[in-house]
Symmetry: C2
Subunit: 429 residues, 2 copies
């Protein structure tokens, strides 16, 4: 029988991978809480109709969808926004408005795997529901910037490309494009950067608008919309406007955006957007069958493109190294030099762990140097040696190799004192 | 159109639910790290054959399994142990032995939902691979006890029911039951507590063993096996033996256990096991097609039964309340008394958040008392009031209602000083 492999597009997270994932999670969570957001989580599985209603039948091609044993059509979630709208609509009376909610978890899309794209990926979602003001949009843009900065990224590394769909709405109304046709037009704008000009011309033809007209509009549209003035004043006050580029090509592909739209874009590498979002004022109404009408805006940031960007950002790498150490290192390695003292050593292991220290030891009789190698591999800060002088034990500071003998009754106190003076401080939790 | 609901057996996690989930996650993670475990994660989706090979065709009935668009038979993971065995076998040369690995994440089973049982549930898995000694089994039992104690549970709340399959192996060998028939016999023992005696007799008949013989063996088997002596010495040294009950009815249902088996069992309520595990020395070999032979042992603890137990354990409730506050409260509420000072307030919001504080404010003009109500709802420790005396602002300690005026240049320093003296300490992260 052959060994098993991961299913195409799915990932194993070995300890070194999970350390990066936890670094990303902790950063998302910390910054979101600084902004006054509270966490929620949606189910991994929803009825396929939930995604159909939001995005139309076409979305089903990109879903991990299947029938369960009771013939229900269900899907692994490709995103959490439809679930959020469902949840918020169901329980909105129970919470003060606006809701500032964030979520972190896996999503699934049936796409061809490539760099920056896996079938399972993790998203951070931050949304504000129940307030339709531009101040909310600015808060979300600011959060996306501060998340990136908390990772160690700078103005050299990323930019926010910002626009509003209202801009195009004005343009399209002038050209007598009916509202129901406008999403199809915006799909063309969404792809304008990556499509050949002649392709774009062909797609624009049914609308009776030339690429020249589109380009001329984009060149002049940059700053004369009142939404931009309010966003600029708000983000300038926070010292964040230098991160922003008004860019009329940003419309976001999905049909449900209604106002401000933005993307966090990698400046140095040819990656796709690290994050994207905007205002979607109709979605709660759509998802609740008209029962709840609640303005909303939010953005999502994925872990895969972000991980690639961070791997090339020195500021992020230094932070990651600290985080990895914090997650995996131990405080104390208990060295059993005399096997007759093993049970005494186990008693000490228990006491020190109960004091909050991270403690490890060898399960079997092993040579001293092998035990010290383990201590080093686990980046222990101190070793405690149980030998034939017991109840005297030796504490060794593994940073400076100094060794002192103490009575077992003094061990916890002495060790805590030593760890307090250690370079990184103790990991007592 | 009707509003959508969650799919049967799946759960929404509203902010108050996620606070409990995070409390559970943080506790699992903290205690596992004290024991020197490092984290990993497996994919949510695996090939259905992975579970067939481990558990036989019968398992498929309990799986969320389906064919993807390329006709692959895949399943939402019902547990992570098969993935762990696959991963560890593939990469074992890259790590020092033994591996001490833990994991936290959702699993999925197609079962009828009932109290303590949902179709999506979260498990904590802790496993030690590459060492077959009883010392490893003791370490895992100790970890399961310390996890429960960290939640605030005591000897009044839970017990470890412990046994070894070797016990029954001796008994079955004596009765000339062939090794390949022994798992079927152990399935009967696994259900003996909940089955009617006449049912058990009927099931035992093909083995030529009476219920009386089984009961007599169980009554005498309690302590005379050498594995128990070693476990007792080890766990007594740690002060943990009082949590243990040797119980020969504990065999664990799954076929793959080979040695020590144990369950964490709720003492006060009629719930099922909170956690269970044991030694499974053949699984890595089975999952790697014979390529890697690595002894292993571990246990899993689910969130659903645990959550019910914690909701009835006062010690846990006090800790949960603290955790909930830590997760959702803010430090500072910025009150905008004079709308002409809004941009100055935004600048201060940015500065305070950059200093690591959790800060919130009203997006729109609002009456002072409404803003103070929000501050209270978010359990802010201090308010900063931006009024017409700006650049003087007022800092209000929301614990004792004392108010002091400071220049905006002094705000951060004054606020940090105030929060350091606040009852719970600041949330600076």
């Amino acid at each position: 029988m052959a060994a098993f492999k991961t299913v195409k597009g799915f990932r194993d997270f070995f300890p070194e991978d999970i350390a990066l994932r936890n670094f990303i999670f902790d950063t998302w969570r910390r910054v979101a809480r600084r902004y006054g957001f509270v966490e929620y989580e949606a189910p991994f599985v929803e009825s396929t109709d939930l995604y159909r209603r939001k995005s139309g039948e076409e979305i089903v091609k990109q879903l991990f969808c299947f029938k369960d044993k009771a013939d229900r059509e269900i899907s692994l979630r490709p995103e959490v926004t439809p679930s959020l709208a469902r949840m918020a609509a169901a329980r909105q009376r129970d919470y003060r408005k606006p809701l500032k909610w964030f979520q972190i978890g896996s999503c699934f899309r049936y796409e061809e795997p490539q760099e920056g794209r896996t079938r399972e990926f993790i998203q951070f979602n931050a949304d504000i529901l129940g307030d339709g003001s531009v101040a909310v949009d600015a808060e979300l843009v600011a959060l996306s910037i501060d998340v990136m900065r908390e990772f160690g990224a700078t103005q050299e590394d990323f930019v926010i490309r910002l626009s509003t769909r209202e801009l195009w709405k004005g343009f399209l109304d002038q050209h007598n494009i009916a509202p129901e046709q406008q999403p199809a037009f915006l799909q063309i704008i969404d792809k304008i950067e990556r499509a050949r000009p002649d392709e774009t011309e062909t797609r624009l033809a049914p609308f009776g608008i030339s690429l020249g007209e589109v380009r001329a509009f984009m060149d002049t549209a940059d700053s004369d919309h009142p939404v931009f003035a309010e966003l600029k004043a708000n983000l300038t006050a926070r010292g964040l406007w230098d991160f922003i580029r008004i860019d009329a090509t940003i419309v976001r592909g999905l049909a449900y955006y209604t106002g401000t739209v933005f993307e966090v874009f990698d400046l140095k590498h040819d990656l796709r957007a690290v994050a994207g979002g905007g205002r979607y004022d109709q979605l709660c109404s759509v998802m609740s069958g008209g029962a709840v009408d609640m303005p909303a805006a939010g953005f999502a940031m994925g872990d895969v493109v972000l991980g690639i960007l961070l791997s090339k950002t020195p500021g992020a790498q230094f932070k990651l190294i600290d985080s990895l150490a914090e997650q995996t290192r131990i405080d104390v390695s208990v060295i059993i030099a005399d096997e007759t003292k093993r049970l005494d050593a186990l008693a000490a292991v228990q006491t020190l762990r109960a004091a909050g220290l991270r403690v490890d030891y060898s399960f079997n009789a092993a040579k001293m140097n092998k035990q010290f190698q383990s201590a080093e591999a686990q980046k222990a800060r101190a070793a405690v040696i149980f030998g034939n002088e017991y109840p005297q034990v030796a504490i060794k500071d593994l940073a400076n190799r100094q060794q002192t003998n103490v009575d077992i009754a003094e061990l916890e106190t002495s060790l805590l004192a030593l760890l307090k003076t250690a370079a990184l401080g103790p990991l007592v939790a």
